[in-house]
Amino acid sequence: MHEFDEHLRALLPRLRRFALQLTREPASADDLVQTCLERALSRWSSRQPDGDLRAWLFTILYRQFLAERRRARRFARLVELFTGAEAAEPSPEAGTMARSALDALARLPVEQRALLLLVGVEGLSYQEAAEALGVPVGTIMSRLSRARGALRRLTEGDIAPAALRVVP
């Protein structure tokens, strides 16, 4: 039990960092982490002992984030329905060049953001990332390609080659 707490405590900064990049709002990021940890604590006994704890926690956190976003969108639609006001959606890749890598990351769609963080920063394998994001590995690879291309355009305005040429 307390050994598990130690593991959680060690992973806490990574979870908060990931949540912060997903929500981009410190208070709701910590709310997300809290829900994730509570789920982890209450489900710990039913969890398979093998498998990476870190990947498991990222999976819980990301699914929780998606669920809350769906709820928020339903609520926004409801508000829109009653007030006639359109909910403002931040448009990705819009505007001037990004000042920093995190700034650029923030302009990507959340699926790409999550993938770049899990694979590039947290060091999850493609298979683990696929499980955390709930998509097949093939989708992970194509999404990674799109995400890196988009990030490149935002940081340098550079255009990647459209397709890989066949080398003679």
Binding site: D5, L20, D30, L41, A104, A160, V167, P168
Partner: protein, 252 residues
Amino acid sequence: MTPISPSEEMLHAYVDGRLDAGDRQVVEAFLARSPDWARTVAGWKADAERLRAECAGAMLLPPNPRLEPAVLRRGLQARMRRRAALAASLLLTAGLGGVLGWQARNLSLAAARPQPMADAVQAYRVFAMARPHPPEVGALTPTGMHAWLSQALGRATVLPDLGAHGFRLLGAQLVPTDAGAAAVVIYEGEDSRRIAFYIRPGGPFPTEQGGTRRDGALLTQYWFRDGYRFALVGRADDPNSAEIVWTLRSTV
């Protein structure tokens, strides 16, 4: 010539450091002769490194005490206790509601069920206690009374002589009921006490095969036979009533 051309997936795996030595050499050889791709892959790598570097700064978030696992664990346990208490109280409420509801049902059923032989008690009060009020049929000869009763009730009815118990026939009265005519036969004792013998059509009450009921100072003893209900109503302190009932039951 390099026989294998790397897939784009391999280039990403190269950026993420997930290739073994052989594949890495293949990719590096490919990049060495493809400047466009070399630039792109270098850009991916640079982006990933900048991202890692900036995220390292995000690791220094101020600690949040509510995310401490021990605190969360206590919170979860408290929540579970509250839920258990709520569930228990709901269960208790439902159980209590069920029990009370069942009792209320029984009470209302009991209230809806007519008290057996209430009409006999009323007949006694009206005709036996109201002394100035003379019975409809006066003290006929026993034969005359039998004929009158048999015709009124549609049933051959012979009344016993209660003289041995100290009661004489005073008179009789017909009363209507929902099932037909009923007869109240009034006897008077030597001390001018009165008892009423009540006969009416109607089957036995579903729950009882006969019995007694008390209404204040009155005692009613009743029984059923052949589609008729019989009752003797009198003072509860009359010592002879059980014997009189026995005589009536064996005669009528």
